[in-house]
Symmetry: C2
Subunit: 246 residues, 2 copies
Amino acid sequence: MWSNHINYHGGMRTHQLVLRWIESQLSDGELTVGGRLPAERTLAEQLGVSRTSVREAIRILEAMGVVRAGVGSGPEAGTVVISDPTAALGSALRLHVATQHLPVADIVETRVLLESWAAARARADAPELEEAATLLDEMDAVGRGSQQADRFLALDVRFHLALADAAGNAVVSAMMGSLRESIQGYAGKLTANLPDWGATASRLQAEHRDILAAIKMDDGARAARLVAAHIEGYYREAGVRHPATD
Amino acid sequence: MWSNHINYHGGMRTHQLVLRWIESQLSDGELTVGGRLPAERTLAEQLGVSRTSVREAIRILEAMGVVRAGVGSGPEAGTVVISDPTAALGSALRLHVATQHLPVADIVETRVLLESWAAARARADAPELEEAATLLDEMDAVGRGSQQADRFLALDVRFHLALADAAGNAVVSAMMGSLRESIQGYAGKLTANLPDWGATASRLQAEHRDILAAIKMDDGARAARLVAAHIEGYYREAGVRHPATD
DNA sequence: AGTCACGCTGTGGTCTAACCACACTGTAAG
DNA sequence: CTTACAGTGTGGTTAGACCACAGCGTGACT
């Protein structure tokens, strides 16, 4: 006797069937960024599965940064295809850091690796560098009190991401962003270890300007060196602990 | 009047509440790799949410490579905590490649970057190098017919992963694996473009041995150069399109 | 006493049907 | 012409039911 269910997916779970269908629609270009998935109830009927299974698939895609679900009606509503690889990689890394199977030190090391490469690779005339310069000015405008550290760090993230974008590799940019996101809470807490946040912030700013200048002068090797020293210096000063010592 | 629901999550969707709870359990060490989550029904009751919401959260964690769900009873059953960052990053990258917002050329470039670094960083006495050597012997044993290309490539993946592991950075290893996984189907199809698979395979093997020898002689710089040439050479021969030409 | 069969139990997997909040849309009242 | 409001379609959530699966215990039979 076969399965008493009408639908048999060959051992594949139902939501995976939905996932595969959506992924094929993406590959075939039937679904593109900005496009909208059929409504959950419609899709369920089309594929002959329950709405529950459709929803599980959509949840996964949402976690992967591939779709965004919005209630109501209008342009913001429905399940629309986006492309936010950073979100996906970021939460994945964060979760695995939580399981303590991805040491923070390894993340920092990888960040240095990717970011040095990006600095060396960035084109001197990349438009992202203008944005980076603007961000530096904004960071100067932020107060130097430890209360403003979070605000400074938020701008700092955007500055470093702008540099990564200037290298023109979407994968490296996404990975950079995700690394940064995965240890964001960690980095925030580190400021408490600093003896004088104001002094550190000023030093970081000076280094930022050196890095930007090196890139604009097309001295990629120097930019890479400076970036590596910049990142490693910060974590050393703030005292990264290896998780094994907890 | 507030919400007529008893439970109010502050705008947070219910499954995110569950996710946050599980993540905090992981961070606090209450849940560790190998441990098991409470049964779905139990967890639902404990957190005061429906089983559906619990399941949506678990689906996400499963997609992230943080848990594995198994039916039945016994040691293989239940939802157990694992740690497979590669799976998460891999499917995320694959999906975004499907949306055509992550050019394959960028993935290859990133792979070269990470893999050169790993080759330069690998310790000459790393135990993973022994496994790598064994894999090379197995690859020699594989026939050179184009039918065996998939088998050869499967071993090739493991060889490159072994090299990455020898560098001792879990994040880089995971990213490497995920990059390779995300374009696995792509790489397989590329073999059809090659004029003579047997000749290419033999050349790849020669390069593999050169790389391994360089690492064992602690000549990291040379190993990095060889790895970069090895990867770029293969994709050039098989004909990857540069994204800028699209 | 030993062995085998079978039902019990607890697990995740799936489905149905209902209700909610939300945001736009059209229409009717002013 | 403007405004108020019911209608409609979206995702969000829940309760309850049933399924297949795998191990475990108990009973019957040898």
